[in-house]
């Protein structure tokens, strides 16, 4: 007998199954991008949720009252699966479903009575219990990612958080972030459901059409995030990402349209929904910008869920269809009541907070002071003054001098590091007057629980008595001498970083010894320890190449022989990567053909840098000839396909290969028919780098001239040189130079030299740099510092790399590339036949 429900068409079945239909585009996209594991995870979640709901209802509630067919458990399963990475182990998915249904839904009384969204409860449980597995996001389009070792990395938000922790300027990080189109369509790392904004939006529009959700929550939620991040970005573009990025990143669109709009846990009135949306938006942005988690949508929704009953109570329905009810008699009092209630609560809370603050801030400060003195005592030998009185703050580090009588017994430095796993933590390092470490303790840290205990045990004793010019202050994984704490490598590294900061500052500012070199810097080279890596890149050999090592032009070269005959060379080279030096090993046959290439050390950003370490990328080097091939990424007019999203790491690899190639051609090559990249058969008679249409640009760059420099062209060292003359006498040379180290690729510049070698002026000719940043360089007057300088005495490198050029803050790449171009121009200038 069919059950007729004498109602209109929007039955609860139709609601639920329409939501499922709306989720189908996102499901399809997730299966496409993440493969079979996405499918298995989703199915597991759905089946587990249904199963647990059935079991709990059957055994604990009422055998008759089983409601799994209403579809809500199904949807919980799908949404839960959408919130996890595709590499999550299946048993965790089952556990998450159990918590979602068994803790987030059933104890409140089943559907309709729960306060919090069950899918989010399950997700938060998983996030807190298994943070590693829940924050390792396989990148899309690597089908079957948990059957093999997947390349994974943080989400875009996580990458930004990590990049900023490493000190990278935001502009650099953002430039390497996926494009908006990638984020919109879904070709980024992330959890199953959050990657494709497009697919989710289709589903959301369907639900709006079917009148299952209203526009109030999604629109206000997303708009609030947009406006709030817009304001922050406008005020500090260097600290906050732009609002479009924020809207597309993370689970915002998924959360705002599918999760926050859940009928049971969101307010019922339209006004209440708007308040809910605004609250979610504000909390999301706050967590994203200033909290420890890179993603705030889940927590924001859960917090606002808690307020829903209160919002429902405050936004009661007051429409009457009676003419006698006027605004002032019915509605105005209600609004007045609400406003008064809010203001009253606000004032009460503020008062309580103020009172608490006033009464406790004094004692807290005192406690800090006392304990600080005690702590200084532990890191230094006995002293009898009060070092806190003579505290000196230099560059954010605080130095305390401890004396006994009149002689200094040591220096305590309150130092910090931002490279901790959860942000900044503070150390107190005690140095003896000669710079040797006496003791170290932790002052304040937010690392993973237990780290503080582990640090305080005997672990930090290994630093005591060490002289940092001999003791390599890097963890053993980075070929240093420090034993890292197991499972806390990042925290250990950060610890060393803090000590390093303190030591360098101590040496420079207090002990005034400015040319101290850390052991860790000297020993930065990567040491190959076992032979198997050589076997990867070389053909079959029977000697021990590690014993036949030569160092040519600062690169180590291992010779491989078979039966006494040389069969190949393994060259260890390096290139400057995104945040570290990339070391590679390249195997080359005696005739110059590359046999293989692999990474030796890749400490680039997880998810971006290690994307490059794949057979596709490495394989394209095989078979290429040293000297004949252009080892640059395609963006820079080379032949190598960079890995999308990891341009800089790919470039570093190519730089290393190019270095090896140059070394090989110069020293090792036995055949004479290689052609050097930069030499040409005959000098070209036409400009090769840039064709000028008029000579006005020369007016700025050259000293006064009255000829047409475009007619006096020569090519020197591959660069275009134009001569400027006044009445026949040479007044200057304008050289079109280029550099491939630009942020967007090739940067073409024009440098004007006076005949004595000093630079007259410079100009940008063409580039692919980001327009904003180019403007910044120009506005900062960057090029003015070149005027009048002679490169023979003016070191053409940026200051952070040992030269004399002041780079523009935040526009390092462009500054560097310009400098590189000027350098090239100068070396051309020297070779001009005068």
């Amino acid at each position: 007998m069919k059950l007729i429900e004498l109602r209109n068409n929007l039955t609860r079945h139709r609601i639920m199954w329409n939501v499922v239909i709306a989720l189908l585009p996102a499901m399809t996209v997730s299966f496409y991008f993440f493969g079979i594991s996405a499918f298995i995870l989703t199915v597991t979640a759905i089946v587990s949720c249904l199963l647990f709901e059935f079991l709990i209802q059957y055994f604990f509630i009422d055998k008759e009252d089983i409601t799994i067919q209403d579809g809500s458990a199904f949807i919980t399963g799908v949404l839960l699966a959408f919130n996890v990475p595709s590499s999550l182990p299946i048993w965790m998915m089952v556990l998450g479903s159990l918590i979602a249904i068994g803790v987030g839904k059933m104890p409140y009384g089943g559907i309709g009575k729960n306060i919090f969204n069950p899918a989010l409860v399950g997700r938060m449980f998983l996030l807190i219990s298994f943070p590693v597995e829940m924050t390792t996001w396989p990148l899309p389009l690597q089908n079957s990612s948990f059957l093999t070792d997947a390349i994974s990395g943080p989400t875009t938000l996580g990458a930004i958080r990590e990049g900023m922790l490493n000190g990278k300027p935001l502009s650099d990080i953002m430039a390497d972030a996926p494009s908006y189109m990638d984020m919109f369509m879904g070709n980024i790392g992330g959890s199953l459901g959050e990657v494709s904004a497009f697919a989710i939006l289709i589903g959301a529009l369907y639900m709006l059409y079917k009148k299952i959700i209203t526009w109030h929550i999604p629109v206000t939620f997303i708009t609030t995030v947009f406006v709030f991040t817009g304001i922050l970005w406008y005020m500090h573009p260097d600290k906050y990402a732009d609002p479009v990025f924020h809207v597309l990143a993370g689970g915002l669109i998924l959360g705002a349209t599918f999760i926050a709009t859940d009928m049971v846990t969101s307010p019922m009135s339209d006004g209440g929904k708007i308040v809910f949306g605004i609250g979610c938006g504000v909390i999301t942005v706050s967590i994203r910008s200033w909290g420890y988690y890179p993603e705030g949508v889940g927590f924001a929704i859960l917090i606002m869920n808690a307020f829903t009953p209160m919002i429902n109570q405050l936004f009661r329905s007051y429409k009457y269809r009676d003419k006698t009810n006027t605004f002032s008699s019915t509605i105005a009092p209600i609004i007045k009541n609400r406003i008064v209630a809010f203001i009253f609560i606000f004032i009460v809370l503020l008062t309580i907070l103020t009172i608490v603050y006033i009464y406790t801030i004094g004692p807290i400060n005192n406690a800090h002071k006392n304990s600080e003195l005690d702590k200084i005592r532990t890191v230094l030998p006995a002293f009898d003054n009060n070092p806190i009185d003579s505290a000196k703050t230099i560059d954010e580090l605080v130095f305390y001098t401890a004396k006994k009588g009149d002689s200094i017994v040591g220096y305590a430095c309150k130092t910090f590091t931002d490279k901790g796993f959860n942000g900044r933590f503070y150390l107190l390092v005690g140095f003896k007057p000669d710079g040797i470490i006496y003791n170290t303790i932790v002052l304040e840290q937010h690392e993973t629980p237990g780290f503080g205990d582990r640090m305080a045990s005997d672990w930090n004793k290994q630093f005591n008595g060490k002289n940092l010019t001999e003791f390599n202050l890097k963890v053993k994984q980075d070929s240093g001498d420090v034993d890292a704490i197991s499972a806390s490598t990042i925290s250990s590294r950060a610890y060393c970083d803090a000590i390093e900061k303190a030591y360098l500052s101590l040496m420079k500012n207090i002990l005034k010894k400015s040319d101290v070199k850390l052991a860790s810097e000297i020993n930065e080279k990567f040491i190959i320890k076992d032979i198997s890596i050589l076997k990867k890149v070389l053909p079959a050999f029977d000697n021990d190449p590690l014993k036949e090592v030569k160092t040519i032009s600062d690169l180590e070269c291992f010779t491989a022989k078979k039966g006494g005959k040389v069969v190949g060379y393994a060259i260890k080279s390096s290139g400057k990567g995104y945040c570290s030096t990339v070391w590679i090993l390249i195997g080359v046959l005696p005739d110059g053909k590359i046999n293989g290439a692999c990474f030796l050390e890749n400490k680039e950003t997880i998810g971006y840098g290690d994307k490059v370490d794949n057979p596709q990328f490495l394989g394209q080097f095989k078979g290429k000839l040293f000297g004949k091939c252009d080892f640059e990424v395609k963006k820079d007019d080379g032949d190598i396909d960079a890995v999308s999203g990891s341009t800089i790491t790919s470039r570093a690899f190519c730089e290393a290969v190019a270095k090896a190639s140059t070394m090989f051609c110069d020293s090792l090559s036995t055949t004479k028919n290689e052609v050097k990249k930069d030499s040409v058969i005959a000098p070209p008679s036409k400009p090769t780098i840039y064709q000028y249409t008029d000579k006005s640009i020369f007016n700025n760059v050259l000293p006064a001239f009255n000829n047409n420099p475009l007619t006096e062209f020569q090519s020197v060292n591959g660069l275009d040189v134009y001569t400027g003359r006044m009445n026949g006498v040479v007044t200057g040379y304008a050289i079109t130079s280029f550099s491939k180290k630009g942020f967007g690729g090739k940067v073409i510049i024009l440098v004007g030299f006076k005949p004595d070698g000093t630079i007259n002026n410079t100009a940008f000719v063409s580039s692919n740099e980001t327009p904003n940043f180019l403007e910044m360089v120009e506005e900062a007057g960057y090029r003015d510092q070149y005027i009048g300088k002679n490169p023979a005495t003016f070191k053409l490198a940026i200051k952070s790399e040992g030269g004399d050029v002041d780079a523009v803050s935040g526009v390092t790449y462009t500054s560097r590339s310009f400098c590189d171009g000027v350098q090239k121009a100068y070396s051309s200038f020297i070779n001009i036949k005068k």
Binding site: I4, E5, L6, N8, N9, G112, S269, R321
Partner: protein, 444 residues
């Protein structure tokens, strides 16, 4: 997806015509074994019985007299012996009585014309007509059953009165009027003429929906003989149970008030009443039978039945489907907001219009907080909250939430996606509250 209903204003849901039974001719239901005639089947005071237990009555015999001005006579609908005069003591304030007769036969009283012949001439003067209507216990045949003679004897102030017979059904699935117009069309015209004579007017309108083409054709045919009565066809999908709207559409005039007929000069009645008037005046037949539509919505079957008043439900439903009261709900009147009948022994009375039955659901599904009911409520209440309080027996809170403002429109229950019987819960709450008000010691 075809929309099954139209919302007129917030809070008024009108189910579109979806007749299961429009093509079924009127059938007579066999006389039941016994009938149970309630004495309170009209507005006003219940009638007072004038027969005693074990006495023998004939069909059409007066068995209860009107009590007071606003009351109506009640006649026996079968021939047989009175078994008992039952007292139904649910409500403590009024004793409600029912007369139970065991059927033996069907012998009509002498002065009743039981033939089918059409009597066209209206011979009686107006006071006689009203007397006949009163004596035969004719009431306005809608849910309220107001005694018709009272209505008719009020002095009219306007000169130009127009009678409007409204056939636009306000209850979905009910097709008894439709069949009446098809089968007894001319009787309706005569009834209209009677009413016109009573009201001393010569203009009458019968309003019929355009889509009922067969009815229109039939009535237009007959109307050629009755020049004073105009047939006006109403456009489809316009909802004419609202009197003001009906009058505005038919005559273009705005009628200010929705409640009383008299000051306006427009007098409306419905088809069933008109037919009862014909029978009472021309044939001196008391109101002892009704034509009701019975439908089973599960199997989508319906029938139009001519039923004697007092018939219990079981034999009626047997014509359409089997009814197991435990599994099915029976509703009388409007499908959304009609009253539910809890016992199969409940008899048909003058207030019955149509019966529906559909399957019950065993479990009460939970509210999913979708806020459809809040959007639907015309009185600005929050039905989900009221239902929740009723479930928790929190009656003090209910009064604060102004549950007494509820107008019983039934839209909240209709739009609820999980099918919660919100209106029923609210009705229960109201009942309990009034009980508590009257008797503070009522057990909750």
């Amino acid at each position: 997806m075809k929309k099954e209903y139209t919302k007129i204003n917030v809070g008024e849901v009108y189910l579109n015509d979806n007749r299961l039974s429009a093509n079924h001719p009127i059938e007579k239901v066999a006389l039941p074994e016994f009938v149970s005639i309630p004495l309170f089947q009209h507005s006003g005071n219940p009638a007072i019985p004038i027969v005693e237990k074990d006495s023998f009555v004939k069909t059409g015999q007066l068995i209860a007299k009107a009590d007071g001005r606003i009351s109506s006579n009640i006649h026996s609908s079968v021939t047989g012996r009175i078994i008992e005069i039952k007292e139904i003591t649910e409500k403590k304030e009024r004793h409600r009585k029912e007369i139970v007769i065991r059927t033996k036969d069907d012998v009509w009283e002498e002065n009743i014309d039981t033939t089918d012949t059409l009597i066209k001439e209206i011979t009686l003067p107006v006071p006689e007509i009203i007397n006949r209507i009163r004596d035969n216990g004719v009431v306005e045949l809608n849910g309220t059953a107001f005694p018709l003679h009272v209505k008719l004897s009020v002095q009219h102030k306007q000169k130009e009165n127009i009678i409007i017979i409204n056939s636009a059904e306000n209850e979905a699935y009910i097709s008894s009027d439709h069949r009446l117009m098809l089968e007894k069309g001319e009787e309706l015209f005569i009834g209209t003429s009677i009413l016109m004579k009573v009201y001393d007017t010569n203009k009458g309108i019968i309003a019929i929906e355009k889509e009922k083409k067969d009815v229109l054709k039939n009535m237009l045919n007959i109307s050629k003989q009755y020049p004073n009565i105009e047939i006006i066809a109403l456009k489809k999908n316009v909802l004419y149970y609202n009197r003001q709207k009906l009058i505005k559409t038919l005559t273009g005039k705005n009628v200010p008030d929705n409640s009383t007929d008299l000051p306006a000069g427009y007098l409306t009645h419905n088809i069933a009443t008109t037919f009862a008037v014909y029978e009472a005046v021309q044939k001196n037949k008391p109101l002892i039978e009704r034509i009701i539509t019975v439908s089973d919505l599960d199997i989508k079957k319906g029938a139009n039945l001519q039923v004697r008043i007092g018939t219990p439900l079981t034999p009626i439903f047997e014509k359409v489907c089997s009814v197991d009261i435990n599994k099915k709900r029976i509703i009388n009147g409007n499908v959304i907001r009609g009253k539910e009948i809890l016992e199969l022994q409940t008899p048909i009375n003058k207030k019955s219009i149509g019966l529906f039955t559909f399957s019950k659901r065993d479990t009460l599904f939970k509210c999913i907080r979708c806020s459809q009911c809040i959007n639907a409520c015309p009185m600005g209440l929050e039905p989900y909250r009221l239902a929740m309080h009723v479930r928790n027996s929190d009656f003090v809170l209910l009064r604060k939430e102004k549950i007494l403002n509820c107008t019983n429109c039934g839209t909240c229950g209709y739009v609820c996606p999980t099918g919660r019987p919100v209106l029923d819960l609210i009705r229960y709450g109201r009942k309990k509250i009034t009980e508590i008000q009257n008797n503070p010691q009522t057990e909750i």
